[in-house]
């Protein structure tokens, strides 16, 4: 095999590998969208069917007409959400779906680290890892900012 042929084979293998990687990534993206969408839809349908949020929430029309008040009478912590989901409370399900949606980009970058590791693409393992760490740090920062606010 000539050097040229060899480099063509390597090029082709690299392309095939990238094909598999982008397929894995797109499968992850599609499923993360479907799962969070599904959970939110179930929550919304449950709410419309039972007319109950499961919580003492300010009704939407009151909220809109008054131009306030900000209501926090729905679950927005991990513990209260899981507690509500177990009891099949509609708003807890919606919040679970929204939380899954928010976390999905962080899962995406984690998957990218694994993909680049498999491809032995060192610079991009480093880049994706740093992005992952930054995202986790900023989630942590958000809690710190929050504790200052409260």
């Amino acid at each position: 095999m000539s050097a040229e042929e060899r480099s063509a084979v390597i090029e082709k293998e690299k392309e095939e590998e990238e094909d598999i990687s982008s397929k894995m990534l797109s499968v992850y993206l599609i499923w993360s969208v479907l799962v969070s969408l599904g959970v939110i839809v179930i929550g919304l349908v449950l709410y419309l069917a039972t007319s109950s949020t499961g919580y003492v929430a300010v009704p939407l029309d009151v909220l809109i007409k008054s131009g306030g008040p900000t209501t926090t009478v729905f679950p927005h912590y991990l513990g209260s959400i899981t507690g509500g989901v177990v009891k099949l409370k509609s708003f807890a399900l919606i919040q679970l779906g929204v939380l899954l949606l928010i976390l999905s980009p962080i899962g995406r970058i984690f998957l990218q680290i694994l993909i680049y590791l498999k491809e032995r693409d060192r610079p991009f393992v480093a880049i994706a890892s740093v992005v992952f760490v930054i995202l986790v740090i900023s989630l942590f920062l958000s809690r710190v900012v929050l504790s200052f606010k409260v």
Binding site: L29, V41, I64, G67, V98, I137, L139
Partner: protein, 283 residues
Amino acid sequence: MDLTIYYILLILVAAVFAGIIGSMAGLGGGVLIVPFLTLYFHVPVSLAIGASIISVIATSSGSASAYVKDKISNIRVGTFLVLFTTTGAIAGAFLEHIAPKQIIYIVFGVVLLISIIPLIRKIGEVNQSPTVKNDPIAEKLSLNSQYPNYELNKEMKYNVTGVKSGSAMMFVAGILSGLLGIGSGVFKVIAMDTFMKLPIKVSTTTSNFMIGMTAAASAGIYFFNGDVNPYIAAPVAIGVLIGAVTGARLLVRTRGSTIRIIFAVIIVVVAVEMLLNGLGISP
């Protein structure tokens, strides 16, 4: 209850529209959702911003699921640049008191208006100019790639240049989103189009791939703070996801110049919003 259903449906329809536009122009749709909710519905601003962050992530995940499969967005370029937007966003969160927000809004409103010029000049461009060569960083990280070109009906290779200036611009875009709580899709697209000379569809779709990651960090703040109200978040998330997937299908079959025009119109909207905010005319 009936009124609630009516409101939810209305938000849903608006969200589908925002998702379509956002997924085609490379931004999160917050520029459309926030004024809609605050001006039309008089929803408190903090709740509208919470909804807008959900819209950004939904647009990103919804459209990226199609763009990655169709290999339009450049994942390597996106992942590399996210490094700078996320660090910028953290820096921005700490820089809150560096200058009055009004001045920042006015400065960047004007910057946006100016940045329309190079964008419009390239209307009619079907493919990247052959004079564009990879710069050393792009070469080292093999950022160049290829994408399905609709006008020429085949896979076209393209190079990546101006990685340094593009990255610097991304850092500024990140600072802005940390500082003002706005998504910065417009600045991302401009950086990739004007500085890095990527084809317009690659720029908007790569921006879509990126915005979800930039927003995920700040989304946590709003979510745990209780600013994401299920009444609004549910129709926004459902509508935007449907819109984003639809927009992604449309983009594949749209001419590059059409995307450019849609994007230019959005820039004008965003610039006017920022200028109004800066001048304190916003309600």
